[in-house]
Each structure stands twice: as C-alpha cells, then as structure tokens.
C-alpha cells in the first residue's frame, strides 16, 4: 500500500512538471489560434504515456541506479579501497585514482546511451536527415564525448586545477573546429552538448563529483562538486564535430581516389 501511495505521489509530481506545458499549449491552441486540437485522442494517449513512462523511469532510477551510483562513487574513492595492498598512499596523487577515471568514463558513456532526451534528438535527426544520420552512430559519438569529458573532470577534481582553464581550452578547440566543420551538422552538434546532461546523467555525475571531492583531502566539495556537468556538456560537441569532420574528410578522399582511378582509365 505504501508503494502505491508513493507511486501516486510521483505521478502527481510529474503531472505538476507537465502542467505548465499543457496550460501553454492549451492557451495557444484554443485562444490564440482558435482551432481545435488535431488528433486529440492520439495526443492525449501519448501524453499519458509520457507522464507514466517518465514517472516509472524516474522511480526506477531512484530505486535502482542512484543508490548504486552513490555507493560505488563513495567506495571507489574510499581511502581504504585506494590503498589496497600498498603500504601507504598519497591521497592527493592523481595517479592513484585510476579506477575512478575508468568508472567515470564508463558511467558517462552508459548514462548517455540511456538518456531519453538524447534518444529524442537522435530520432529527430535521423528523420530529418532522411536516414543519412544514424541514430546509434550519433548517440555513441556523443557518449564517447561525455565519457572523456567526465573522466577528465574527475581528474581535475583530484588534481585540483581550476575549472576555467579546462573550459577555456575546450571552448577554443570548439571554436577552431567550428571554422572547419561541415555546416550541416553544426547546429545538431551544439544541441547534443546541451542535451546530454539530463535526467540520468546529472544525478550520477553530481554524486560522483561530490563524493570524490569529499574524499580527496584539500578539495572543497562546494566549489569542486559542480563543474563535472560542464565537462559533460562541452566534450560531446567536440566529438560530434570531430566525427563530422572525419566523415567529410573520408568522403573527400574517396572522391579523390575515385577521380584518380577514372583519370587513369
């Protein structure tokens, strides 16, 4: 009975989040446009699916994933674990935290693959590009970017270097890439940066950051706990633009080879 109560409460919470959107669309459709809503039944059913689906998703995450993520983040940065069989260990030495970097990278990768917002954008991109953008290819490219970004971010927390240096360097890389990348995919690449940090990724990354900066001596959790999310938003842009540039370069090379073969003939 307690479970049902909690579930009903969660559904109401999701409804509360959806409520402004319903009001907004309702107002604009009925008052501004003064048209009845087309396909009302299908849209109502779809909205119910979204609300129930999102609620189940969040409840499941809170029951299963987030507690695990928290526990693992704490365990992996526990000094006892890190010391292992060594006689003693310098907790501020960044080379001792190998498992954390690996965990951060793999977690970043896997949560991004599961991210519903990214799934939505990837499906739209595939539909709009007539299938030339592979939804899975896009998602994997973004996930690799997030994995690298979060791993680098945890390294930053352990080593203690200021956040803005990394971000500035990252921005410069993005700006340089923007000058050379194919225009068609640019907007999509920038969007993926904003999309990756959502329902699944944010809580886990936040837990990882806070847990890590609490364990490493000399780090201030309040200042260092933030910032991992910024990494997770920035690096996917680099990987997607990079992948697009590679695709462009590979296509141009094939084209050139084809021309050379034709000329020889």
């Amino acid at each position: 009975m307690g479970f049902l109560n909690n579930f009903a409460k969660d559904i109401l919470l999701t409804c509360r989040d959806v409520f402004p959107i319903i009001l907004l669309f309702g107002f604009f459709q009925l008052v501004v446009l003064r048209q009845p809503i087309p396909n009302l039944r299908r849209i109502l059913i779809g909205t119910v699916y979204v609300v129930i689906g999102l609620t189940l998703f969040l409840v499941g995450l809170e029951k299963a994933l987030f507690p695990l993520g928290n526990i693992m983040a704490t365990q992996l940065s526990d000094p006892v674990f890190l010391q292992g069989s060594k006689a003693s260990i310098d907790l501020t030495d960044w080379s001792n935290y190998g498992w954390i970097y690996l965990f951060a990278a793999l977690t970043g990768f896997s949560t991004t693959i599961a991210e519903p917002s990214l799934i939505a954008v990837a499906y739209k991109a595939r539909e709009v590009s007539g299938g030339s953008i592979n939804a899975w290819g896009l998602r994997i490219t973004v996930a690799v970017g997030v994995a690298f970004g979060i791993s680098l971010g945890t390294f930053r927390i352990v080593s203690g270097t200021p956040l803005y240096i990394y971000i500035l360097v990252g921005y410069v890389i993005v700006i340089i890439q923007t000058c050379f990348a194919p225009k068609s995919i640019m907007a999509l690449a920038y969007d993926t940066g904003g999309v990756t940090t959502s329902t699944v990724t944010v809580p886990i990354v936040a837990a990882l950051g806070l847990g890590l900066s609490s364990s490493v001596p000399g780090r201030n959790p309040a200042v260092d706990g933030f910032g991992l999310i910024a990494f997770a938003s920035l690096f996917p842009i680099i990987t997607v633009l990079g992948y697009a540039q590679y695709g462009q370069w590979a296509a141009a090379r094939t084209h050139k080879k084809h021309k050379e073969n034709q000329n020889e003939v």
Partner: protein, 253 residues
C-alpha cells in the same frame, strides 16, 4: 474474423516487445558497467538486490512508454504548433510562445530548484549573503528566475535565428567568447553554478518539444533546411543561462 483479430493481437504484442527490447538495449550499458564494477572491482555483493531488479524493470518499461509517447504526442504537438503559428503569420505570438515555453518549463524544473537551493546554502556559509533563511530564499528564487528568463530568451532568440537565417556559428562563438570573458571577471563562487545551470535547464520533456518546434519551423519556412537550421535552440538554452547567471552573480556580489 477470428484470424484477423488474432493477427492484430499478435502484431500488437510484437510491437510492444520490440519497443521494450529497444529500451533494454538502451539500458544495457549501465547494467554492464555497474555489474562489472561491483563484482570485479569493488568485489562486494549488491545490496538490496530485489529492489534493484524491480527498479530496473520499472526503468525499462518507463523508457519504452516515454519513447512511444514521444512519437505520439510530443513531436507532433511541437511541430504542429510551430507550423500553425507560422501560418497565422504573427511574429509576436510566435516569439511570445517561444519565450513562454522556455520560461515556464524552466521555472518548474526540479533540478534547477535543487541547484538553486544548494547554491543558496553555499553562498550563506561562504558569507556572501546574510545568514538567514529569507535571504537564502530570495537568492535562490532570484537564481531560478534568472535562469528561467535566460532560457525563455534563448528559445526566442533561436526562433528568431531560424526566421531571419542568422548564421549559427557566429552567434555561438560570440556567446562562448562572452562566457569566457565573464568567467574572468565573475566571482569565484558563482562560476561553478553558472556552468552547471546551463547543463540542467533542458529537461526530458522540454528537449523533444523545443527540438520539434525548431524542426517544424525550419520545415514550413521556405528556403530553410530542417537539419541545418532546425536545431540549435537547445544550444542557446544551454549557453545563455551561463551568461545570465554570471551576470546575476556580478550584480548581487
């Protein structure tokens, strides 16, 4: 009649199974990563195994339902509204809608509320604002409104960009340069929050709606390519909050 009905039933079941299978493959990497680290690295048994399994089932079903509802409702609504407002021809209403969409969804965003109250705590203990609940609440609310306003404005700006065909890369690079410049001048305590605010603004429901809005606009307006011009709204919605929050920090502190 019987065969037609059973055929329909079989097709529906197959459709549902396929959706659930897709959700499973989406969630498989997480399961593998956690299993690997728990079993191989940390080498401790999983606590609360039953709850974890139940939670995993819920996540799979929830994701399948969400993706289905996405295609049934969220995408059509967003694109339909974009195209209907464009056909109506009123720039004012289109921009108002864009702003309202960004603002209303952000102001209610739970992740933002959490970050704002956390930021207020940090500012309180850091001595940057008065150490009483009222001041902390005012600060948190100010932060939320700033972010919500910046998201509303960025959706508006993104829509304007699609309509006027402004080049995206100039605006983005300009935005990044502004962020870099403000980072140098802004107080240390607000920088981390500003960067994270940019990341959390676009929620799971807002992203499909905003994407559909942009793509719908780019589809219906002549001379716009949906792929090249339809995206980019989310990018603004992640970039502008950083600028506005750092500005808020500069003003308050």
């Amino acid at each position: 009649m019987a065969t037609w009905k059973s055929g329909l039933f079989a097709r529906t079941v197959l459709y549902i199974l396929k959706k659930i299978w897709t959700a499973c493959t989406d969630l498989l990497p997480i399961v593998l990563v956690i299993a690997f680290f728990q079993v191989v690295v940390i080498r401790q048994p999983l606590p609360n195994l039953v709850e974890i399994l139940v939670g995993s089932v819920l996540v799979v079903i929830g994701l399948s339902l969400f993706v289905e509802g996405l295609e049934m409702a969220l995408f059509p609504i967003g694109e339909g509204m974009a195209q209907a407002l464009t056909r109506k021809g009123s720039l004012f209403w289109l921009l108002t809608f864009a702003f309202a969409l960004g603002f209303s969804t952000t102001v209610a965003e739970p992740a933002l509320i959490a970050i704002a109250s956390e930021a207020a705590n940090i500012a309180k203990t850091g001595g940057l604002i008065e150490n009483n609940p009222a001041a902390a609440d005012r600060y948190a609310m100010g932060l939320r409104l700033t972010v919500a306003f910046s998201v509303g404005f960025s959706i508006l700006l993104g829509v304007l960009r699609i309509l006027r065909n402004w080049p995206l890369h100039f605006m983005i690079i300009g935005g990044y340069i502004v962020v870099m410049g403000m980072t140098i001048f802004a107080p240390q305590e607000i920088i981390g929050i500003a960067y994270d605010a940019g990341g959390v603004t676009t929620s799971t429901i807002t992203v499909p709606l905003v994407t559909a809005l942009g793509v719908g606009l780019a589809t219906i307006i002549r001379g716009r390519n949906p792929l090249t011009d339809g995206f980019g709204l989310i990018a603004f919605a992640s970039l502008l909050p950083m600028i506005f929050v750092m500005g808020y920090g500069l003003i308050i502190f």
